[in-house]
Symmetry: C2
Subunit: 461 residues, 2 copies
């Protein structure tokens, strides 16, 4: 048990939270506390050890920050294996993935499918840029490398119907630094900011950091309603019309039209976060709001993390004319956040036509995998489960009555080597299966094992 690993020297002058942290970390590193193990709840450990809950919280936070432990919403704290104390200089074999020992089927992976990665090709481009001293040894353009911005004009137009020019595109290392620049440009114009609830947490964090007046908007089955935008007197609406967080499907065209009309009428601004907008594989991607509306009342946000590879942080924002002008005035006082070398590698990669090839390949892979997963789920659970594919989110949500709640099911599955993401729900168990990272060959085996757990539990009850 975990308490055997915890030794707290009561007479030390090291803060108590630190001692607890070190003790648990020691247990993990020595193997006394196993990977995948759930740590006792904060309440429980505080009672058992006679320390305050704040102390336990601090210790857990620190373990999370350093990657020894991860916090799963509604489930508690679990020991992660992916932590190595020292970075190894020896290159590992390309196939060697960090995999949590004990996890055989990982439906919660943050990796993307390795078959799609084509890392060798990407390396070639990075190396080519890296070989140019003039590039490595000088600052990048604050707005983003002009070569990449020019490529993005064509890319955005072809794939997402985005209307832009290179001078209205701003590049950044992810959506957050771009939203920070945008909030600065908007100033008082960002009076009341409407967000879908639940909202992409990283975007909400930026709005909260800027202490904007945030209005959480309800939604019907098509998303946010224009009625709510009028009645809540929204000035700026943050939206992910290709993939609403709650629904995992695109907003229908009729609703889009209503929202664009709202923006025109009230001089409102739409921030369109087109996360994975181009990745749709079951049907044609829905063109961007920005292009449909003409672009005057929409700021478009696009990203490459899921498309290229997760370690590459390149996003871009297309500003409407008035905001672009304000940006040009101030631009020189913004530093670029995205790696210059990676930006130029991407520009060449795009110029040579690889991004379209990659997108086609990704769509094919994800279509196959989602078919496999859906079929396996339907065969295993039949009518007992409600199964829904969230296409651009690359996952399937499952609701099932199985005599266990979501957390209990996730824990039991983990004990049997299947990692799933529990979702809070009122009746039965709900869980999410991410199919981006799991190899195709493992999908059926994973679902089968899940089926056995659930059927076994139903038989026992």
């Amino acid at each position: 048990m975990i308490y055997e690993s915890i030794r707290l020297d009561k007479n030390s002058d090291v803060p108590m939270y630190r001692r607890l942290y070190e003790s648990i970390r020691g247990g993990i590193c020595s193997g006394n506390i196993s990977v995948g193990e759930r740590l006792p709840s904060i309440r429980k450990i505080s009672e058992e050890l006679g320390v305050s809950r704040t102390t336990v919280e601090q210790a857990y936070q620190q373990l999370c920050v350093e990657g020894y432990v991860s916090s799963r919403p509604q489930s508690g704290y679990f020991v992660e294996a992916s932590v190595r104390n020292e970075f190894s200089a020896e290159p590992e074999k390309p196939s060697a993935r960090e995999k949590t020992p004990g996890i055989r089927y990982d439906f919660g992976s943050r990796y993307v499918d390795s078959r799609s990665a084509d890392i060798e090709l990407w390396r070639k481009y990075v190396r080519s840029v890296l070989s140019r001293e003039d590039i490595v040894n000088s600052y990048g353009h604050y707005q983003g490398e002009p070569e990449l911005r020019r490529q993005l004009v064509t890319y955005g137009m072809t794939l997402r119907g985005v209307k832009s020019t290179a001078d209205r595109i701003v590049i950044g290392a992810g959506v957050q630094p771009l939203l920070s620049v945008l909030c600065g440009l908007l100033g008082e114009q960002a009076g009341r900011v409407g967000i879908e609830y639940p909202c992409f947490p990283q975007a909400e964090r930026v709005f909260r950091d800027f202490r904007l007046n945030i209005v959480e908007l309800p939604h019907d089955k098509f998303g946010v309603t224009a009625e709510d935008l009028y009645s809540h007197k929204i000035d700026v609406l943050y939206l992910n019309p290709s993939n609403t967080e709650s629904m995992g499907r695109p907003m229908p065209i009729s609703r889009r039209a209503e929202i664009m009309e709202w923006a025109e009428r009230t001089r409102g601004l739409i921030i369109e976060d087109d996360y994975n907008g181009a990745l749709r594989f079951k049907s044609r991607p829905v063109p961007s709001l920005q292009g449909m509306s003409g672009g005057d009342r929409v700021v478009y946000l696009g990203s490459f993390s899921k498309l290229l590879m997760p370690s590459v942080r390149i996003s871009y924002m297309v500003l409407p004319g008035d905001l672009a002008e304000l940006y040009w005035e101030r631009g020189v006082n913004y530093n670029q956040t995205s790696s210059k070398v990676e930006q130029l590698a991407l520009a060449q990669y795009m110029r040579d036509g690889h991004i379209e090839k990659r997108l086609r390949r990704l769509r094919k892979i994800y279509a196959e995998k989602s078919d496999l997963l859906m079929t396996a789920l339907k065969e295993t659970f039949g009518e007992a489960a409600r199964i829904r594919l969230a296409e651009t989110a690359l996952c399937v949500d499952v609701i099932i009555e199985c005599g266990m709640d979501s957390q209990r099911l996730a824990e039991t599955a983990l004990e049997r080597g299947v990692k799933i993401i529990p979702v809070d729900c009122e009746n039965g168990a709900e869980f999410r299966l991410s199919f981006a990272g799991i190899p195709s060959d493992d999908i059926c085996g994973g679902v089968e094992t899940l089926g056995k757990i659930i059927n076994h539990n139903l038989a026992e009850n």
Copy 2:
């Protein structure tokens, strides 16, 4: 003349500013408008062509954004040469630098000295990280790679006396994304923010974007005074104690002590931006305020752009305990901005002891170059000029009475192939000579040419 190159089709339905922009761009690309040439003032071109000043402004802005033209404060708009329309896939020879034709001696370069760069070694580390699929194909840690944060603890302590632990370090792609996170953490605590005037413009931009209450503080010869901090009721002070913008020299220890006392007494917070703090070459670097004060009331900011190479954007922030705890709570909702591959390359580079070697080398190079420049200036201008070395800013400021104002002198020098940075001043001419990028061999020749221009002008008057 430039007007001959401008053809404005009055019957086009393309916006007028766009036509003007395209016309000037065409002139530049075809060579009709020369590199280094000063464009007519906005007022003048608007009168000559009968278009509004806003139209001209928009066209110029766009040319600036795309890099065809640069705006120099108080001087106007100049045609830049460093713009290539297409990114060449062919690697250039390592010695090929982007150099503005017509500029023979560049004292305004944003490059760093190529001898110091050791690009081959850096490439080796990037390639080694790039070869690991598990790294490239997964997300990085939101707070920054743990391996790098561990290296930074030792580095900060050894070189700058910074007291930190890996969990209190946050990495970001430059100071701006870090300040954005910090402003979010501070929330209402950032009531009145004191900045030195003039302030590092990129930092001021972030504070203004967050619409903080900014107080521009005057300074005596030692920097900001504690008296002003009390009387202006400052809550947060942004400071660059190693290199105040206006003075280019570190704040003396007595003033540091007063400011730390202010922070302790009033529970104020100091944001210590230690830009180039480790680069001091004439004397031992002054240890950080953060380490001197114990770190409770100081947020420390450090950066690697000048130390490593300009294209690499890695900065870090050390948070005091209370802000670190708040960060841990929210951390998972912040995305990392700095390139994961470059972070890990830096971690290994540091682990192998290269950063200390590099720093020693840089100090030696910059000491030699500043000696060369100071000697050449003294020999050429003798008592006629006031010459001041700004050590960590890697430049020398010169004030001289020569019958021209700063702008006129800079323009004349540019015509003769010497690029200098004009500084606004009341009497005579003031200019800044950056010695980071210019090769040592060119320093004497550049100063000599400057001397001829000035002496020639004095003889004429």
